[in-house]
């Protein structure tokens, strides 16, 4: 291994590419961008749920939520580490996040306006994320694939917790039931948008999707993943007793899939371009925390430097 030609052979053999293997520059850049965006999403994703830590309505839920948001920080760390194996470093990637040069998942630009949203994020957002991420456990790039295995395990735990929050609400008081339904109404369509714009048929054979598939980074088209998500989620909604806000949603015996209505792609693009409810808030919060912490990071570096000097002095 190591020679440039090996890359294609490894990919063809569905073998893993490892950090020290040669790889095309585009493959590296695509992975860096994708892993970084994924890591950023974990970090920004702490905010919408973090918003409810202080107000969680029971101590048990508060503990579960704190642990969950903390797990997201952990996922961010694994993923930044995975990206670092490609020859970038975390602070560089964070700078790109902070200056808007790299993105995070647009779903986190939606606000969490009630406690039920914590449930809906777990159920729908984590559910959609898992659908996206499970195939990445077989991604051609080793460190990313391994990070995803760990992340997916925790995410499915989070997804069950979200489901359980809504389950409890749906069986609670009238106000709680209404809260759960309202959350499902607001999060359903944004969750479907998480799979990205349509790329089936012709679209799938050209452009980014095709290249990522050829490289073994992407395994299914956005539309296929979206359909799988719908097929998985509709029965769960039934079990919860919640109505999904789509009059066109019905089982299609012939296709063996659920049909569903038109997604509002104008909204998708609007939010992606910065005009979502929380885009500027999320960035301001993140950049604020980073800047307020600068003196701490500098101090840690300075102290480590002094310690290293002292160690040298002690040896000499």
């Amino acid at each position: 291994r190591g020679a440039a030609g090996d890359f294609d052979a490894l990919i063809a053999a569905e073998q893993r590419i490892e950090p020290r293997d040669a790889m095309p520059q585009d493959y590296r850049q695509t992975l860096i961008r994708q892993i970084a965006q994924h890591a950023h999403s974990e970090i920004i994703g702490m905010q919408p749920e973090g918003n409810w830590i202080s107000r969680a309505p029971s101590l048990r839920r508060k503990a579960i939520l704190m642990a969950k948001v903390q797990d997201e920080a952990g996922h961010g760390l694994y993923l930044y580490s995975a990206a670092e194996t490609l020859g970038v470093d975390r602070s560089e990637l964070l700078d790109k996040l902070h200056t808007g040069k790299q993105k995070y998942s647009s779903i986190f630009n939606y606000p969490t306006v009630t406690w039920a949203d914590v449930g809906a994020i777990g159920w729908l957002v984590d559910g959609a994320a898992i659908m996206n991420q499970v195939p990445l456990c077989r991604c051609s790039y080793g460190p990313y694939a391994r990070a995803m295995i760990r992340v997916c395990k925790e995410e499915s735990f989070h997804q069950r917790q979200g489901f359980e929050i809504l389950w409890t609400l749906a069986r609670g008081t009238d106000a709680q039931r209404a809260m759960a339904q309202d959350a499902a109404d607001r999060w359903w369509w944004p969750a479907l948008m998480m799979f990205g714009p349509p790329d089936s048929g012709e679209a799938a054979t050209s452009g980014h999707t095709a290249q990522s598939m050829a490289w073994g980074i992407k395994r299914f088209s956005n539309d296929d993943l979206r359909q799988k998500f719908v097929d998985m989620t509709v029965p769960q909604a039934d079990k919860l007793g919640l109505v999904l806000p789509d009059p066109d949603l019905r089982w299609n015996e012939e296709r063996g899939h659920y049909d569903f209505g038109e997604i509002d792609w104008d909204e998708f693009w609007r939010v992606l371009k910065g005009d979502g409810a929380c885009n500027s808030q999320r960035m301001a919060h993140r950049v604020g925390a980073h800047e307020e912490g600068a003196w701490v990071r500098e101090a840690a570096t300075a102290y480590a430097g002094k310690q290293a000097e002292r160690a040298k002095g002690a040896v000499a």
Binding site: S54, R61, K62, H285, A299
Partner: protein
């Protein structure tokens, strides 16, 4: 004895509430995780202690009844833990004192005549030792880091100092608990805690602040600082908006 457990539980609960505010706001992601961990440990302690307090007082109140449906005057935590989130230096100064205090306290409570409390203490000793180590490392790093961090860390020690004495006040409830062999007399924890903190402060090239002109008082009697009402409003609002609901 219920009141004694409530005091310890409220300290842990209220500080967990404050530490939760750090999540997504820490200076680095590792610290989001670390402060979240400390908060989670404290929340765990609080749940065990409030549950036990609810059993002891015979009123049949659950941990959530006690956390969400008591009024400010019924909370028995010290002022230190309710103070608003400051900068990271302030947090490390507060954690240094609080974890050092809890460490000594729980080490002693492992031999409490109340087996439940002894059990909680057994677990808490390990947790608070980690918290204390974490704070100590940061206080040293910040004190002996840059000029700015040194200054900020020194300011933080000064800012926290008026709230320290209250940790060691012998209120009636603690005195009774100590006499019954259940609890620890807070004043007896003062010296070991002070010694340890002093050593850390010196190692950090900082100086112990002089006694401030005023000091906090009365948390254990339910007299809190102004911020407490706002903290509780935030913590309790959803639960109180849905009386009788399960979550």
């Amino acid at each position: 004895m219920a009141a004694y457990c409530l005091g310890l539980g409220d300290d842990a609960l209220v500080y967990a509430q404050r530490l939760g505010e750090w999540i997504s706001r820490a200076p680095q992601i590792e610290e989001d995780m670390a402060l979240g961990n400390v908060g989670l440990d404290l929340l765990g302690q609080a749940r065990a202690l409030l549950t036990h307090a609810g059993e002891l007082d015979g009123g049949g109140r659950s941990e959530d009844d006690l956390a969400y449906f008591r009024d400010e005057r019924e909370f028995r935590n010290v002022h230190l833990v309710e103070q608003p989130r400051g900068d990271f230096g302030f947090e490390m100064a507060r954690l240094l004192w609080f974890a050092s205090y809890q460490c000594e306290l729980y080490a002693r409570l492992t031999t409490s005549s109340d087996p439940v409390l002894a059990g909680v203490a057994e677990k808490a000793v390990k947790e608070t030792t980690y918290h204390r180590d974490h704070a100590e490392q940061w206080v040293v790093r910040l004190g002996d880091g840059t000029d700015e961090s040194h200054r900020r860390m020194q300011d933080a020690l000064v800012a926290v100092s008026p709230y320290v004495a209250e940790l060691f006040d012998d209120d009636d409830v603690s005195v009774a608990a100590a006499e019954a062999g259940v609890g620890v007399l807070p004043s007896t924890l003062r010296e070991p805690v002070l010694d340890r903190v002093t050593q850390v402060v010196e190692l950090a090239t900082l100086t112990m602040p002089e006694q401030s002109r005023w000091r906090s008082r009365g948390g254990r009697e339910g007299i809190h600082s102004q911020v407490m009402g706002y903290l509780l409003a935030e913590m309790q609002h959803i639960a109180r908006s849905h009386p009788g609901a399960t979550w």
